[in-house]
Symmetry: C2
Subunit: 133 residues, 2 copies
DNA sequence: CTGTTATTTGTTATGTCATAACATAACATC
DNA sequence: GATGTTATGTTATGACATAACAAATAACAG
């Protein structure tokens, strides 16, 4: 449905790093990992992240000031995504809920608010960390 | 219903500053405003903010890395609050939606996720800024 | 009142996240 | 190959947040 974004070298490196790690990373975490690949300055990372986020290939977690590769299990790239972030193991689950979206849209409509973007993030403990084995 | 928290001097100064301004302020914004009152270091502000947020008298806006006084119109201090942040005028509206809360709780229940805190923030343009006059 | 404990405050230094500004290189398209 | 556009490299700086320790103050039992 969406076009292949054709990543540049830096974008590819940054996305690969996020995917390999699987859990949220700060831009400086990524920078540290990619020193060997010639990435030397924060801006190189932030610029790549901007594009990846815009393309829906990565997400910014506002409550963490960090980034994570899109899980992409379902085609959620249109519409509101929620994140559940485990504070113990760092895992992130993405889920989309049409009802939540509908309620937020409904509130906006009633209030005359024009939404540009929405953030829905849960912080807590994931199932795996609650029952250790 | 909840007891009067009995604010300390610094907490009172910081809350007053937030209330007077009405729109989100960073800790350093507050610091700048309160230099005259003897507040000299970021930590004094952050410590006061921690307590105010814990008491529900102020809120942290994750997507802004900033803080705002609680609007407190309704007794929303128990349960999930959503924020609509105008990117034009900086105004913030708080609202609580039981259905959203229920959906998030439902997802958590199904997934075995134990939620410690939730963030719901909309960024966009408020009614006043959409229709200027 | 007095000693003990817990909380709050003051202060310095440092750590972490993000962007401004400007120069250069790569790439497309005519 | 000139031109406009996008991506990069680099240095410096700005913005947000906390560590660590010392001093003052509040709370409270004896
Ligand atoms: Zn995703
Ligand atoms: Zn976990
Ligand atoms: Zn509130
Ligand atoms: Zn507005």
């Amino acid at each position: 449905m969406t076009e292949p974004p054709k990543l540049t070298r830096n974008q590819d490196l940054v996305l690969g790093c996020l995917q390999k790690t699987g859990t949220p990373m700060s831009a400086y975490d990524i920078l540290g990992q990619l020193k060997a690949d010639g990435i030397k300055a924060p801006l190189q990372v932030y610029r790549a992240l901007d594009k990846l986020v815009a393309a829906g290939l990565a997400h910014r977690l506002e409550s963490l000031n960090a980034f994570v590769a899109c899980a992409g299990d379902e085609c959620h790239r249109r519409g509101l995504i929620a994140f559940a972030i485990c504070e113990t193991c760092g895992s992130v689950e993405e889920f989309a809920d049409a009802v939540i979206r509908q309620r937020l849209d409904g509130w906006a409509e009633e209030s005359g608010f024009h939404t540009h973007s929405a953030t829905v993030e849960l912080r807590g403990t994931c199932a795996g960390c609650t029952r250790p084995h």
